[in-house]
Every structure is written in structure tokens, then in C-alpha cells.
């Protein structure tokens, strides 16, 4: 049984090794000419307008958390949809319950006023 883990082991070794080797190589043979532009954080090509370590309004976090919850919901729905035929009625009911719980959560969030920006 343990043999089946050998590919996982190989994968692990290769991934760690790859990361290590790349970093080591670039450190060893890469040429370094630091300029100011090179040292600023990379933000998808935009020029930063201030330090990234500043305080955000807490509302961002709330929205982000809500996003994650529903994101996970969708992530859960993909495999479910793929296997929908096999799961049959039972799968449908299970998913309905799951969605219902999330609906209740949404209602709660809505009632608490977390969806309003101000």
C-alpha cells in the first residue's frame, strides 16, 4: 500500500528541489544591479502610490470573507456537478441542504447589515 505514495514522494522531492535549485541558481549566477524602480513592490505593473502596509477599512475584510464563503461554495459545486449523474436524487437533496444553510447565512449577513457599505 505504501508504494502508492512513492509518486507523491517524488513529486514532493522534485518540487522542493526545483524551488531550491532555481533560487540558488539565480542567487549564484544572476547579475545584480539594484535600481530604485526594481526595489519597489510589484503590483501588476502599476506604480505604487504608497506603502502596502497600511490599514484598510474593516469592511474590505468582511466583503472578502463573504466572497471566500461563496467562492468555496462554488468550488464545492464543481465536482458535485461533474458527478451529478452518479449521485442522483440524494446528491440533489444534499446540495439543496448545503445551499439552504448558505442562504440562511446570507440572510443573517444581510440582516446584520454587512452588505451595506456605509
Amino acid at each position: 500500500m505504501l508504494e502508492s505514495y512513492v509518486p507523491v514522494l517524488i513529486l514532493g522531492v522534485i518540487s522542493v528541489g526545483f524551488a531550491f535549485v532555481t533560487l540558488a541558481l539565480s542567487h549564484l549566477i544572476g547579475e545584480r544591479k539594484p535600481t530604485e524602480e526594481k526595489l519597489i513592490p510589484y503590483e501588476c505593473g502599476n506604480v505604487p502610490i504608497g506603502t502596502a502596509r497600511e490599514r484598510f477599512p474593516v469592511k474590505f475584510y468582511i466583503i472578502a470573507m463573504l466572497f471566500i464563503i461563496f467562492d468555496v461554495e462554488v468550488a464545492f459545486m464543481f465536482p458535485w456537478a461533474v458527478l451529478y449523474e452518479n449521485l442522483g436524487m440524494l446528491g440533489l437533496i444534499e446540495m439543496l441542504i448545503f445551499v439552504l444553510i448558505l442562504m440562511l447565512g446570507l440572510a443573517y449577513v444581510w440582516g446584520k447589515g454587512a452588505l451595506e457599505w456605509e
Binding site: 500500500m1 505504501l2 505514495y5 440562511l104 440572510a107 443573517y108 440582516g111 446584520k112
Partner: protein, 480 residues
């Protein structure tokens, strides 16, 4: 196989319905402050107890054999719901004005207890993890319920991070177990172990998995050296939440230990007895010794809970019927005395949290003084309290298993513990009262009810111990 036995989880369904109701009430009610959430939550638990009473005595598998409801699980459900009632009773005057929406508080308590109940009925490691997470997540939030209190927030974050870490270790262990025996179902683990594993590297990996699961469980139990979070979290969390954690979470964790290691992993449990003896000794010794110098009563009780965990582990080390049944008995007594002591603290906290602040309160408030005396006596283990009989049965189990020296160490430990428990009473009765704080609102009817319930329970366990002990012995069917 698709045995959807909703009846077996009916108490939990009731509770979940109430929890959802509480949350929605908080969101949509125009006057969220006026609802008697504590009474509602008590009725929820009472309903749950009623359903459980109807179920009690049957043995039912359910949900693809991921759940097994048996008598011992039923008993633990009673314990959890009872704890829920008492916590609901003592919380209200304490959180009044400190938490904006009390429904959330009670909903989280209820959900956490549902998690415990799932732990109690789990028959699959996945189910177990679900239960543990449902319980823990709610408690993480509860610990940080006082948003404007730094200590509370710190407790919450610490508990969350460390808890997540320990759960990760536990999941890792489960993964290893799954990897070696190819299943997470309790009975299949045993079957497959006997079928496929015969020594060698695979058994080694299996044992590694078991050790990691054990580490996760011991973290929840707060055994040394997994105890580091306990003092900070118990001290920082709101007092009523600490009472809940110290009684409910501890009881659930111990049942997790018993259930997982005596049903699923009983094939491996004997490999860990020696190390558990060691852990039990350092747990109680360190807990008691560290408690000696604490000035903050909550922190002292946190260390004391570590020490009590050590005593209870003795019953697990003994691995016989008496010892294991004694753990259950001890847990009941332990939950009652801690809930009671914290209920007193809930009232006295207006004065302050340190020993000096309760000076003279014993005579100022004779009822509270009397109650605290009962609870502290029970914690030391003096007759005629439940604490005494709990220790007695645990030690008896250990003696039957031949651990005389372990019992001697434990008894020495409880002698040491008398110092810091009785010191609370010394401050309450023999010190001059300090002026700070003014008069207390001691006449909270719900807290008084909680105090009466717990103290009567403690004395009942102490005077008529046979009653419960016979029940627990009868249903302690998990044996290695």
C-alpha cells in the same frame, strides 16, 4: 447502507434550529435586546434532553455508518446539554451590556454543543473532525466575544492559531492512518489493521498517525506539554465562556479520547500507555505547582483544570472498566464544580479578578461563600463532595490495574492542590473586605439557580455516588 437515521440526531437538529432562529432573530428583530435568549436556550436544551431521553437505551448506526449512537454517547449528550443549561443560566447577567447581540452568544454555545454531540456519536474519523471543528470554531469566537477587551481578543487569536495547528496535526495523523489501513471508519480500521498490518514499516506509519491524533486530542484536553494555551485563553476569555470551555470542551475532548482510542485505535492503544503515564504525571504536577503562585482566580482555575486533566488521565492509563467509568464520573463532578465556581466568579467579577478582590466576600455574601466552599472542597477532593468520589474511583481503577505509585503521586498532588484552592476560601472568609466595587448584584435569580443546581449535584454525587457510578460502569462498554 444509506441509513439516514435522522431520529438519532434529532436532539442536535432541534438545537441547530434554535441556533439559526437566534441568529435570524438578531438580524431581523426590531428590538433585539428584549428577547429572553437564555430562557429560549434553556428550553432548547430541555427539548434536546427530552429527545435524547426518548432515544436513550437504543443503539443505532446512521449516515453510512459514520455515526453510532450508543448508551455512552447518550450519557455524554446528557452531560453536554446539561452543561448548556447551566451555562445559559449563569451567562445572562454577566454578558448583559457587554455583548450587543446576545442571541449570537447563545447560538454559538448551542452550535458548539452540537459539535460536541457529533463527537460523541461519531463513528468515523471524518465525522470526528467535523465535530471537533464545529465545537472549536464556535468556542474560538466565543472566547473573543468581548470585542473591546484586549485580553479576550488575545485569547481568541491564541486559541484559534494553536487550535488550528493542533487540528492540522490531528488531520495529518488521520491521513497517515487512512494511508495505512485505507479507511476512516472505526470498525473497519480495526478490521483492516488486523488483516493487513503485521509489524514492519506500515505499522510504524500507522502508529505515527495514531500518535499525531493523540497529540491533537491531548491538545484539546490541555495535557502537558500541549497545555500552553490554557492559562492565557482561560484567563482572557469571558468568564462564562471559560466556564463553558473548562467543562464542556474538556468533557467532549475526554470522550473523544475514550471513543477514538478504545473503539477505533484500540489496536494501538497499548503502545502509548507508558508515555501516557508520564504525561499524566507531568500534567497534574505542573498544573498544581503552577497554580500555587497565581493571584488571578481564573488563571488559577485554568492551571487547576490542567491538573484535573492529569487526574483523569490516570483513569485512561488504567484502561480497565473501573478506571474508564471513573473518568465519566469524574467529568460530571468536574463539570459541576467548575461551572459552580465560575458562576460565583461571574457575580464576584464586578469586584475584580484577583484573590485580593474577593476578600471578605464570604461573610458579606454568605450564600456565595457557602457555595464557593462547596466547590473548592470538591476541587480539593474532600468528602462528601463529588470531587472526592471522582478521585476515589479513578484511583481505585488505577490500583486495580496495579499503578500504586501513580496513585501515590496523584494523592501527593491533591495534597499540594489544597493550598491554592483553600486559599480562595481564606481570602473570602478571613481577610478584611476591601472597599472597591461597592455592592454586588448578588440576587440574580438565574445564577442562583445555577449555583443551587451545581452544588446540589456535587453533594449528590458525593453522598450517593453509587447511583451514577453504577450507570457509568454499566454503559462503559468500550474496553481495549
Amino acid at each position: 447502507m444509506a441509513n439516514f437515521d435522522f431520529l438519532s440526531i434529532s436532539p442536535d437538529l432541534v438545537l441547530i434550529a434554535f441556533a439559526v432562529l437566534f441568529l435570524l432573530m438578531g438580524s431581523f428583530s426590531r428590538t433585539p435586546g428584549v428577547h429572553n435568549y437564555n430562557m429560549l436556550s434553556i428550553s432548547a436544551f430541555s427539548l434536546a434532553i427530552l429527545f435524547n431521553l426518548l432515544l436513550f437505551g437504543s443503539k443505532r448506526f446512521g449516515f453510512y455508518d459514520m455515526m453510532l449512537y450508543d448508551e455512552l454517547a447518550g450519557i455524554f449528550r446528557f452531560i453536554f446539554y446539561g452543561i448548556g443549561i447551566i451555562v445559559s443560566l449563569m451567562s445572562d447577567p454577566y454578558i448583559e451590556g457587554k455583548i450587543k447581540h446576545k442571541g449570537e452568544y447563545y447560538a454559538l454555545i448551542i452550535l458548539s454543543i452540537v459539535g460536541m454531540s457529533f463527537i460523541a456519536t461519531s463513528y468515523d474519523l471524518i465525522m470526528l473532525v467535523l465535530g471537533v471543528e464545529a465545537m472549536s470554531l464556535s468556542v474560538y469566537i466565543l472566547a473573543g466575544m468581548f470585542k473591546h477587551d484586549e485580553a479576550s481578543a488575545e485569547a481568541s487569536i491564541k486559541y484559534f492559531l494553536l487550535g488550528a495547528f493542533s487540528t492540522a496535526i490531528m488531520l495529518l495523523g488521520i491521513a497517515f492512518v487512512y494511508g495505512t489501513v485505507g479507511t476512516t471508519n472505526y470498525s473497519l480500521i480495526v478490521q483492516n489493521y488486523n488483516k493487513y498490518l503485521h509489524g514492519g514499516i506500515q505499522t510504524g506509519i500507522f502508529l505515527f498517525g495514531v500518535a499525531a491524533i493523540l497529540a491533537g486530542v491531548l491538545f484539546k484536553i490541555a495535557a502537558v506539554p500541549f497545555h500552553m494555551w490554557t492559562p492565557d485563553v482561560y484567563e482572557g476569555a469571558p468568564t462564562s465562556v471559560t466556564a463553558f470551555m473548562i467543562s464542556g470542551v474538556k468533557a467532549a475532548s475526554f470522550f473523544m479520547l475514550i471513543r477514538v482510542f478504545l473503539i477505533a485505535l484500540k489496536v494501538a492503544v497499548f503502545n502509548f500507555v507508558d508515555i501516557m503515564v508520564f504525561i499524566s504525571i507531568i500534567t497534574m504536577t505542573l498544573g498544581n505547582i503552577a497554580a500555587l503562585t497565581q493571584r488571578n482566580i481564573k488563571r488559577m482555575l485554568a492551571y487547576s483544570s490542567i491538573a484535573h486533566a492529569g487526574y483523569m488521565l490516570i483513569g485512561f492509563v488504567a484502561l480497565n472498566k473501573t478506571g474508564l467509568a471513573a473518568i465519566v464520573f469524574y467529568l460530571i463532578a468536574y463539570a459541576l464544580m467548575n461551572l459552580g465556581a465560575f458562576a460565583v466568579l461571574v457575580l464576584l467579577e464586578e469586584k475584580g479578578k484577583d484573590l485580593e478582590h474577593v476578600s471578605g466576600c464570604g461573610f458579606l455574601y454568605p450564600f456565595l461563600g457557602l457555595m464557593m466552599t462547596i466547590f473548592m472542597f470538591s476541587m480539593v477532593g474532600l468528602p462528601p463532595t463529588g470531587g472526592f468520589m471522582g478521585k476515589f474511583y479513578v484511583f481505585k481503577g488505577a490500583l486495580e490495574a496495579g499503578y500504586l505509585w501513580l496513585v501515590i503521586i496523584a494523592v501527593l498532588n491533591s495534597a499540594v492542590s489544597a493550598y491554592f484552592y483553600l486559599r480562595v476560601l481564606v481570602y473570602m472568609f478571613f481577610e478584611k473586605p476591601i472597599d472597591a466595587g461597592g455592592a454586588l448584584r448578588t440576587s440574580s435569580a438565574t445564577v442562583t439557580t445555577a449555583l443551587v443546581l451545581t452544588s446540589v449535584g456535587i453533594l449528590f454525587l458525593g453522598i450517593f455516588p453509587q447511583f451514577f457510578f453504577e450507570i457509568t460502569t454499566k454503559y462503559m462498554t468500550y474496553l481495549p
